[in-house]
């Protein structure tokens, strides 16, 4: 079975979810492109979009239509060539509309798992719940006569355990997209102890066709991405908790968020990132990873407390940010949650006080957006960190400790052989998390 055949009947489980919808989009685009090749004339391509509610599937199709249109508008050059044989399609607008239809025609939304029984490739992007995943994969594999290949989007569960428990005989690989899959270029690819070489070869070809950056990760819970993020988040939480001995917790959360964003030149502060991913998701990923870790406890009572109080973060269905640790007003941080009162405290009430406590930013400091876009990024970073190194304000002290902890986490991932080398760790943080620099660096030496 060649690449094209493998992709002629595909299923995405959890297709209406945040990750599933992106995987569906990218795969449907790839299939539509294959269908347009002259040698595939007459072949039928099908991708089943399976999820649990009609409402979600309706929203999914709306999303796909808009995204397929955007994709077509971006690659009209290529589409004009692909549709050169169609004399009836002359304007860009006609070609773009035809392509959108050709993408939509590949997709079959469904509420029934049975739809997947005929697929040769199955993407799994359901809830990050090991038991649920095993149950569904196992059931599917018993009913599907084609010995399908499984691409799981798990961000934390060891692939080997899924492989064994669902009895898949190596027909599985971790193919971890970053959120949102349609935008983020990074993919972590994780083999189980038994992943078949042909499955891996196909995964590499598929990633290449999607123009993704592949970082191989070894099969340790959390892999590289969450292996760094969860520990980095826990560090932020612990620093805030320590600070809260002197100031109210919500002020401490605000200060740590600010330090991790502005001083470390990241696109988001750590608590904004936790909100973006979802407090519940973070809690869950830690709980999935924790049993696999020997000498550390990856668990935060603060996260448990937030969830008990019903504060979860994550996104609304239109993609806007739900309130979590922070309260958002049109994307801007407007308040911070105070677990003692169960209320959001407006930032304006303590901004000056916190800023005074942290001290002023290094004079050479530039916002993340400026630094990542700068031609002389490396020089800028050297200068900023050189200045930071010589400062001993609270802000600078927290920032330095944060950066060193981030580096330590990165080095540990290499030492534990989760990552093959330091470069892979840096690539994940640069590409998957949009950091301005990799955590393993010499800026503070």
């Amino acid at each position: 079975m060649d690449y094209t055949e493998r992709l002629s009947n595909v299923t995405v489980l959890g297709a209406a979810g945040k990750m599933g919808s992106g995987i569906l989009l990218l795969t449907a685009l790839e299939m539509a492109d294959l269908a347009l090749k002259p040698e595939n004339k007459g072949k039928v391509f099908v991708i089943n979009a399976i999820d649990v509610s009609n409402e979600a599937l309706a929203g999914l199709m709306q999303y796909i239509r808009i995204q397929a249109l955007k994709a077509a508008e971006k690659k009209t050059n290529q589409l004009r060539t692909a549709y050169a044989h169609r004399d009836d399609l002359i304007d860009n607008s006609e070609i773009i509309q035809q392509y959108v239809e050709d993408v939509l025609i590949v997709i079959r939304p469904s509420l029934n798992l049975e739809a997947a029984y005929d697929s040769t490739l199955i993407f799994e992007a359901i809830k990050e719940d090991p038991e649920l995943k095993v149950k569904i994969l196992k059931q599917l594999d018993q009913k599907n006569p084609h010995k399908p290949w499984y691409f799981t989007n798990t961000s934390s569960i060891p692939i080997t355990s899924l492989d064994k428990k669902a009895k898949l005989g190596g027909r599985i690989i971790g193919f971890h997209f970053y959120n949102p899959p349609a935008v983020q270029r990074l993919v972590e690819v994780i083999k189980s102890d038994h992943t078949l070489p042909e499955v891996e070869a196909f995964a590499m070809q598929y990633a290449k066709n999607l123009r993704k950056v592949v970082v191989p990760s070894n099969d340790f819970a959390g892999f590289i991405g969450n292996g760094h993020f969860m520990r980095d988040a826990l560090h932020g939480i612990q620093v805030a908790e320590a600070l809260s001995k002197e100031v109210p917790l919500h002020e401490a959360l605000f200060m740590v968020n600010k330090v991790s964003q502005e001083y470390l030149i990241r696109p988001m502060g750590i608590f904004q990132l936790i909100d973006y991913v979802g407090i519940d998701v973070c809690q869950y990923i830690m709980s999935v990873m924790n049993p696999h870790l020997k000498d550390e406890d990856l668990h935060s009572p603060l996260l448990d407390r937030m969830i008990e109080m019903g504060i979860k973060g994550g996104q609304h269905s239109d993609g806007s940010q739900k309130d979590g640790f922070l309260k958002y007003d049109k994307g801007r941080v407007a308040g911070v949650y105070n677990p003692s009162s169960g209320q959001y405290e407006p930032v304006s009430g303590f901004l000056e006080k916190c800023d005074a406590r942290l001290g002023s930013l290094p004079a050479s400091m530039k916002p993340w957006k400026t630094v990542v876009g700068a031609k002389s990024k490396e020089d800028l970073l050297q200068e900023i960190f050189r200045e930071l190194k010589g400062m001993n304000t609270l802000g600078a002290t927290l920032a330095k400790a944060y950066a060193l902890r981030s580096k330590e986490i990165g080095l540990r991932l290499v030492q534990d052989k989760v990552a093959g080398n330091t470069q892979d760790v840096n690539t994940v943080l640069l590409t998957g998390f949009y950091h301005a620099y990799g955590p393993i660096n010499n800026y503070l030496d």
């Binding site: 508008e73 050059n77 050169a84 304007d91 860009n92 607008s93």
Partner: protein, 413 residues
């Protein structure tokens, strides 16, 4: 042919050229539309010429509002500008990107024919109503429809990319890129001096690198980068074309007028491919006619507004006028002769690359720019006009060197 009667231009008005580059532009936010631009430019002229009562008739230049804005029948906008224009005659003309100059020439012909003494000429285009990829479909109508199917997604950038490629293959490729970049730098530096220019607020500190950027064939075209291209623009320009009698009627002194002393028009077969893509042959012919009509040689020209829809078109125009031999246009540009401090400053408010290219308005905008330069009203963009080179020249091109209008001007005496 020599003009048989004195014809003057007065009271020019340009709106802002709106689109990417302007700080007030946001693709998703409301902004002025076709009605607003027509009214602003029309009223701008009326105010300077003593009101609607002084106007005999009007010419509207618009390429293709029927598709960009679902609006045709533009002549009927005349009374919308001012109720004092109700029931006066108007006509709308079209010749793709040469529409503006065709409108101007139509007004000039009316004065020459003595059917009017004061003609309001107004060019307008509003193109940001659609995304660029769809705008390319609409603008492709300036080419031969039967070529569209096999044409580039960005049809006209594709056409001029082919010309740039042919030029680079025939002459020095590296030098051509340098000259195109220099053309871009000149355009932006000039635009920064003109508050209505689309690139007026451009504050890039490294224009040269932008201009030198490698083309991206996958996303755009083979031999041009985005900085080689004129802008997608919304805007209008208007001017009054008047006879000697008309000049007295509107009460504007001659010192604030330019005289139109020569016109050259030329059409090439829209179905025909260029004989030599490295030459703008129709442009060359139109300029030759214009200079002959004015009875002058190119050495008398002090400033040029040329049709730099793409930087390569600017370089080819230099050769078409005869300022440089075939293949010598790049050196002429690189030696600084077309810069504002050079021998013949080109496109002194930025041209199509820097000021903007609201297609139907461009030919009128060129005339207004020369009117301002020759009468000393160009503000910060003012250049020195010497007694040895007192003439201005404009070149407005429709399609790929198909519909050409060239006009020669000098300060009224």
């Amino acid at each position: 042919m020599k003009l048989r009667k004195k014809v003057y231009l007065v009271a020019g008005y340009n709106t802002i050229s709106m689109g990417t580059g302007r700080k007030e532009f946001h693709p998703k936010k409301p902004r002025p539309d076709l009605d607003d631009y027509i009214r602003e430019a029309g009223q701008g002229v009326l105010k300077k010429i003593g009101g609607a009562g002084n106007v005999d008739e009007a010419v509207f230049g618009n390429f293709i509002a029927a598709r960009f804005n679902r609006q045709a029948n533009l002549a009927a906008y005349l009374p919308f500008i001012d109720q004092g224009l109700r029931y006066k005659p108007a006509v709308r003309v079209e010749g793709a990107c040469a529409t503006g100059a065709l409108a101007l020439v139509t007004g000039i012909r009316s004065v020459l024919a003595e059917t009017a003494d004061v003609v309001l000429v107004l060019g307008v285009e509003v193109q940001n109503s659609v995304k660029a990829i769809y705008g390319a479909d609409i603008l492709a109508a300036a080419g031969w429809a039967k070529e569209r199917k096999n044409g580039h997604a960005y049809f006209f950038p594709g056409k001029f990319s082919d010309r740039a490629k042919a030029y680079q293959e025939k002459f020095d490729a590296g030098k051509t890129r340098e000259a195109m970049a220099r053309w871009f730098v000149n355009a932006i530096e000039n635009a920064r001096l003109c508050p209505t220019a689309q690139e007026y607020q451009n504050n890039s500190d490294d224009l040269k690198s932008c201009g030198m950027m490698n083309p991206n064939p996958r996303g755009f075209v083979d031999s041009l980068n985005v900085y080689d291209c004129s802008k997608v623009s919304d805007g209008a320009s208007a001017v009054a074309v008047v006879s000697e009698e008309g000049l007295r009627r509107v009460g504007i002194p001659k010192s604030e007028a330019v005289e139109v002393v020569g016109i050259g028009q030329a059409e090439e077969d829209i179905t025909r491919r260029p004989d030599d893509p490295t030459v703008l042959a129709t442009t060359r012919e139109a300029v030759r006619k214009a200079l002959e009509s004015a009875g002058i040689t190119k050495e008398k020209i002090g400033t040029v507004e040329c049709h730099d829809c793409f930087t390569i078109a600017g370089i080819l125009s230099v050769e078409a006028i005869g300022f440089a031999l075939h293949g010598g246009g790049c050196d002429f540009v690189l030696q600084g002769h077309t810069a504002r401090s050079g021998k013949v400053p080109f496109n002194t408010t930025g041209g199509l690359v820097g000021w903007g290219h609201p297609t139907g308005a461009t030919g009128v905008h060129q005339a207004v720019t020369i009117l301002e330069q020759l009468t000393g009203k160009a503000g910060n963009a003012q250049i020195a006009i010497s007694a040895e080179r007192p003439y201005g020249l404009s070149i407005n091109m429709g399609g790929d060197d198909k519909t050409l209008v060239s006009v020669v001007y000098r300060k009224a005496e």
